[in-house]
Symmetry: C2
Subunit: 200 residues, 2 copies
DNA sequence: ACAAAAGTGTTAAAATTACACCCATGG
DNA sequence: CCATGGGTGTAATTTTAACACTTTTGT
């Protein structure tokens, strides 16, 4: 029973979401990139296991984790050559991506085990929950963010650019999120974007 | 890490779904009704664990299980007084409810642990997946069934009677399901209902 | 003929999606 | 004043939900 984490970080300058990876130190798949994962300890909570995976395998500081949530459980017989195992997939928001390996969602290297499949499946699910699940949304945006970031996050996660107008209206309906009067120039040109802020 | 099963059987004569329960033989909650559950064995698949729970704790024959599926994983710290544990909730369709204790979804006794909460949460989820997930739908209806059964199943799972007309159209859109020319009198009076049949 | 149950037809309401057009800023 | 990005308005489409009305059977 392992917990595998999709560590998501929104890279503002690259305008896309990057995924935190580790390099496997043991067989099987030694040397190949993989999702950070740990075996679930006895009586350990899922979020604790996920945190352990992030700090231990990617080098993320505990304080840089902005949110954790459950995605799905994978139960395929051939996912691990060592025998049938279970994998609980979790998402985690990470505020800084300094240590560890980070790859764009659209340019992933070959991953160990069935991790590629896990990423693909989870990406679809998470794309559907974005702006519906406040915890996930907030973990990706941070406390305050311009609309431009929301556009980039949506585009990066869903794989295609959203309609800006519709997204703007969608944001108005997100519980716990409100518009501020503030504007900020997110790009070098063009109209400045509204700043959105999560209630505390 | 336990697997807890919502054993669902559609009782045609009672026109409702009943839930299979066990009586706990050990502390804690000794003597109280509970969802059939087992500890997940090393390398055991979820469906195997669920089957083991049904056969061992409710007395269901393996051949009477019409389908098994995953619902969600519960990870609440206080769910078990013995310490933090994880519970993977599964649904299972059961074709005959002869041995074991079966209770209507709407008249459940007090259950051990947080099983009442599990049932409530899963019921909401399953109600949403009915007629969308063919595996779940088919496990409840059986290979062939009149529209009347679909009405009863929907009413029993969602808690309120569906619009017959809309449900009829919904069934037309279910993948793998088709109408037959056959009609059957499901009630003592009224127009006979169309029989639906799953492909294969 | 009447009540009960099943189906069909139609409409209303809501949620998604698409797109035209106006606004604000940098160069 | 023009290119670029942000925002509003509006319409088309699709999905859900509601409800009136017709059909078929037993009593």
């Amino acid at each position: 029973m392992s917990v595998d984490v999709l560590a998501l970080h929104f890279d503002r300058s690259a305008r896309r979401i990057v995924l935190g990876l580790t390099t496997r130190t043991w067989e099987p798949f030694r040397g190949e990139p993989a999702l950070p994962g740990v075996l679930l300890g006895d009586g350990e909570r899922l979020r604790d296991a996920a945190t352990r995976a992030l700090t231990g395998k990617v080098g993320v500081a505990g304080t840089d984790i902005s949110g954790i949530g459950q995605v799905v459980t994978f139960d395929e017989p051939n996912r691990d050559p060592r025998g049938p195992t279970l994998s609980i997939a979790m998402w985690a928001g990470v505020t800084t991506a300094e240590s560890g390996v980070w790859a764009s969602l659209d340019e992933l290297p070959d991953l160990a085990f069935d991790h590629r499949r896990i990423v693909d499946d989870c990406r679809t699910i998470l794309a559907g929950e974005l702006w519906r699940d406040p915890a996930l949304s907030r973990a990706l945006t941070g406390q305050r963010f311009p609309t431009a970031d929301a556009v980039d996050i949506t585009a990066s996660l869903t794989g295609r650019a959203p309609d800006r107008g519709n997204l703007n209206r969608t944001l108005r309906g997100v519980p716990g999120l409100h518009r501020t009067d503030e504007r900020v120039a997110a790009r070098s040109t063009g109209r400045p974007a509204v700043v959105w802020e999560w209630d505390d």
